[in-house]
Symmetry: C2
Subunit: 430 residues, 2 copies
């Protein structure tokens, strides 16, 4: 079996005006769809980060993919490194998503497509290519954002949520204070059944974000785990000041401050478990992260750790060193969600509910509409491979949107400046 | 697909009177053959440590295996732990081989059989289930032993080596000094083409073992990498004294002394790269080994690290921390050799020539006779799964030998006492 066709399609889909420490989500989120088709006509699909840099990397390795047996993944991984820019194995993940070229992402996207292809060729779900399932359903957490009014992109500010089953009206509302966030959380929990809540922080004054956590606790009670993720917007001192307020309230404290050293300094002075998807984003980051004791939980992400098999390998590292595992997400569609679910179903120690931006997206690229959460969890999709199929009309439409929207990379700072002239991304801000 | 049959067969095969720090090999080496057969009649095979403890563990998990889909390996691994004695994840590997019950070994043996079955079911070699091949051939090293005269077991002291193609007469000779070892090395290199040499040490006075290394260097020149493995028979002081003599002569210095602390102490005072298959034999050992800087090279062994996939995961750890990888061996037959070769072909950073006892064995359990080295390397066996088939007559004969030989566990000390009454295993001895 050889890969006879390799297609890389940049897409854009409507994204609500969500806030983060880095600024504001643009009206469209960018993604890239990778397809491989074998010489006997079986196809596999993957989804990864969007924009020009991801696209350029995926195009740069075309000759390494075409003609390759899809099972020969280790050799492809080796071959990709010298062919894709990026250099160091460690990087600032905000730059990776924003535009840095990055070999593990490139390999990971193709690996997922190859595993989908292999699964379809042998009549097995992808989870079975990762060691099989240790759970039938995967828990996700509600991903709460401070946000401006509207649904984003082609939906603008007024959108009939009834058009997307389960999309709650409240997700269109502005949520720029603690009360707004609680309303959002209640709508999201009501619609999707999530049983843990993550607050994307580093956006408002820390006092208001602390008040948000306190209000969420009041509204949902101690049975619903809470997480806060200031995305390194806080200094070590600020992180420690709020750690004292947050102790007893949080399941984990995600990236309050920047860097392995800063996180380790915070970790030394709080009982809160620290988590990261920022200071440890590659295998090259592990030795120093572990040596310093920067975190007790790593948020895996197959999109930048180098694919699904690499994520299983990361899980072994975490198990060996007693580090907890959760899962990170960027704005994504159903192909990524399916891959995340297959992966999480295969990893015994992925015991925290996974992040997902999926409820924020109304558009979908897989046939049959959006995957449906029940009680905040998702069943492993049935069928061979990832268990999802590309909706080609949706792919074409989202590719048109990519060409029309004029965005080549995620830049939350520029978007933020449109609503607040002169705004600048600073880390730390507080 | 379900596993409908599960067969565990203890075997014994003739083993020459090889010496090690632990004593003397018995006339028969013990192994266990694991077979799984699917409900549609496809079978898979694995080989692991022998004797009563390995057998008891493999029998204890029978109910976990029967009825299981062979792809569901992570769940099997989880389930095996509470069902197999052993407790701690870390152990003295000489006790594991000698008789300790040990969950990762149990899982690993079944995992190999399942991967063989899966490979046969989907028409793919096992290497393709591990990420595919990064090399077509796998290099092995000559494994040199001080030894007594004879070929062992049913071959006794006089055996026509012509009956086994490529088995050199000199391997029957006594080799209890440096000159004898060099003769053995020359015979083994002539017969199998090995391009690196490993001396099993910790047997004679360290001065004589040093002289052996020096004579090997004289005989083979600096182009042939040399290793010495005293199996922790030396104190830290002795290890350091001989390190000074061995610098410039060795590719690596394997387990001169005992324990992570002792190895780290040696490592701090020599430029020789230290290697181990004794102080780091499980994932639970990795954190302290790495923290202390005990070694620069780990000898993997899928038989006790928990199978082939676990070994790929170990390789990722080694890559991430800049630790070199080699491969350990115990006395084994062709099923293990095939599995070792598939694994080594899939692991980019397994760059050292692998250990193997295989040339010491004249009996074989795979159909078609022994696998053939060329220039010291082995091609990945062709065909689906492991690419080897059980010789059922040989299996039956070796099972009879197991029952007849009266050995239930490897005990080199008792064997040694037969040639040297009162001999006792001490660690360190020098």
């Amino acid at each position: 079996m050889k890969i006879a066709e390799y297609r890389v399609t940049p897409i854009a889909f409507s994204d609500p005006p969500l806030r983060a420490a880095s600024g504001l989500h643009a009206p469209y989120a960018l993604r890239t769809i990778v397809e491989v088709v074998s010489d006997d006509g079986i196809s596999g699909v993957g989804e990864t980060h969007g924009g020009a840099a991801a696209l350029a990397d995926l195009e740069a390795v075309r000759d390494l993919v075409i003609g390759r047996d899809p099972f020969q993944l280790a050799a492809l991984e080796q071959a990709i490194w010298p062919n894709v820019g990026g250099g160091s194995e460690s990087a600032d993940i905000t730059r990776v998503v924003g535009g840095l070229r990055w070999p593990p992402r490139t390999f990971g996207a193709i690996e997922v497509a190859c595993l989908d292809l292999i699964g379809k060729a042998i009549g097995r779900p992808v989870v079975d290519l990762l060691g099989g399932r240790v759970r039938e359903r995967v828990d996700f957490s509600a991903y709460l954002f401070y946000k401006h009014r509207g649904a984003g992109g082609c939906f603008g500010f007024e959108r009939d949520p009834a058009a997307v089953p389960g999309w709650p009206t409240a997700l269109q509302h502005e949520a720029l204070d603690a009360e707004g966030l609680v309303e959002q959380a209640q709508a999201m929990v009501a619609a999707f059944g999530f049983q843990s809540l993550k607050l994307k922080a580093g956006v408002l004054e820390p006092d208001e974000e602390l008040r948000t956590i306190q209000l969420l606790r009041e509204a949902f009670g101690p049975g619903v785990p809470l997480r806060i993720d200031p995305n390194a917007a806080w200094s070590v001192e600020t992180s420690l000041r709020y750690a004292r307020e947050l102790e007893g309230l949080l399941e984990y404290y995600e990236d309050p401050t920047d860097g392995k050293q800063g996180m380790a300094e915070v970790a030394r002075h709080t009982s809160l478990p620290l988590a990261t998807n920022m200071c440890c984003v590659s295998f090259a980051d592990l030795p120093e992260t572990i040596r310093l004791g920067s975190v007790r939980i790593i948020l895996s992400d197959h999109h930048y750790w180098g694919g699904l098999r690499a994520s299983v390998e990361l899980a072994r590292v975490c198990r060996s060193w007693g580090i907890g595992m959760s899962m990170h997400s960027n704005s994504h569609l159903g192909i990524s969600l399916a891959a995340m679910t297959h992966l999480a179903a295969a990893v015994p120690n992925l015991t925290y509910a996974c992040d997902t931006h999926y409820p924020w997206q109304q558009e979908e690229i897989i046939a049959g509409g959006k995957l449906q959460f029940e009680d905040g969890s998702l069943a492993v999709p049935k069928g061979a491979g990832l268990g999802v199929e590309l909706d080609r009309d949706a792919l074409a439409r989202m590719h048109e949107q990519y060409l029309a929207c004029g965005l080549a990379r995620r830049d939350d700072e520029i978007e933020m400046q449109k609503v607040e002239p002169g705004w600048a991304y600073r880390r730390p801000r507080w």
